[in-house]
């Protein structure tokens, strides 16, 4: 039990990383970032967890005998959860803007579409095409 949550945190981190590295769609990338971030929640909670202890809610003396798990990490995780959703929402807003611009670009003329990295687009061609466009 003791090492499983840590293994899970590492697993989520690397799965998210794999998703980001191989991502072909910016929305997919943002979601993978979310998966990666959830690894930090698991890590934090795993650090604060004590076997057999109860949740840190102290109502009229219920868990005082057994003791509670560390409440500090839970506060940290809460902050983390909120921060993550804000950051993801902001990146998504940028993604929508990209989509708007590139949508326009694609409609007006054919070639500029090749100058788009990492987003799937009607004309295909996703891989590092900015390389080509930058060559003099």
């Amino acid at each position: 039990m003791s090492f499983l949550p840590y293994a899970l945190a590492a697993w989520l981190f690397f799965v998210g990383l794999y998703g980001i590295v191989t991502s072909r769609h910016l929305v997919h990338l943002v979601v993978c970032l979310g998966v990666m971030q959830s690894s930090t929640y698991v890590l934090l909670l795993a650090i604060g967890y004590r076997t057999g202890k109860k949740a840190p809610i102290f109502t009229s003396g219920v868990p005082t005998k057994v003791g509670a798990v560390d409440p500090v990490v839970q506060a940290l995780t809460l902050t983390d959860v909120v921060v993550s959703v804000v950051a993801s929402a902001l990146i998504l807003a940028l993604v929508i803007e990209i989509w708007k611009r590139s949508g326009k670009l694609c409609r007006c003329s054919a070639p500029p579409c090749s100058a788009q990295p990492a987003i799937s687009c009607p004309h295909g061609s996703t891989t590092s095409s900015r390389l080509r466009s930058r060559q003099p």
Partner: protein, 78 residues
Amino acid sequence: MIPLQVVAIVLVGLGGLAVVAARDPLRQALVLGVYGLTLVILFVVLQAPDVALSELVVSTVAFPFILFTALAKMRDRE
């Protein structure tokens, strides 16, 4: 108690893999909601109910909602 935690951990692990493996954004948003639910279960069995509540709101309701809105906007422009 402990078997429950193991089950939750395995579920979250599989859920994370499923989210990353779903390449279509629309399907991925749905899988993400389910994944968020598994995380909520894990947090509950790790004795963190308040984190579980906020995660419930954020990752099974708010974040998929934002995603769907974003995808809908993109679909409009297509």
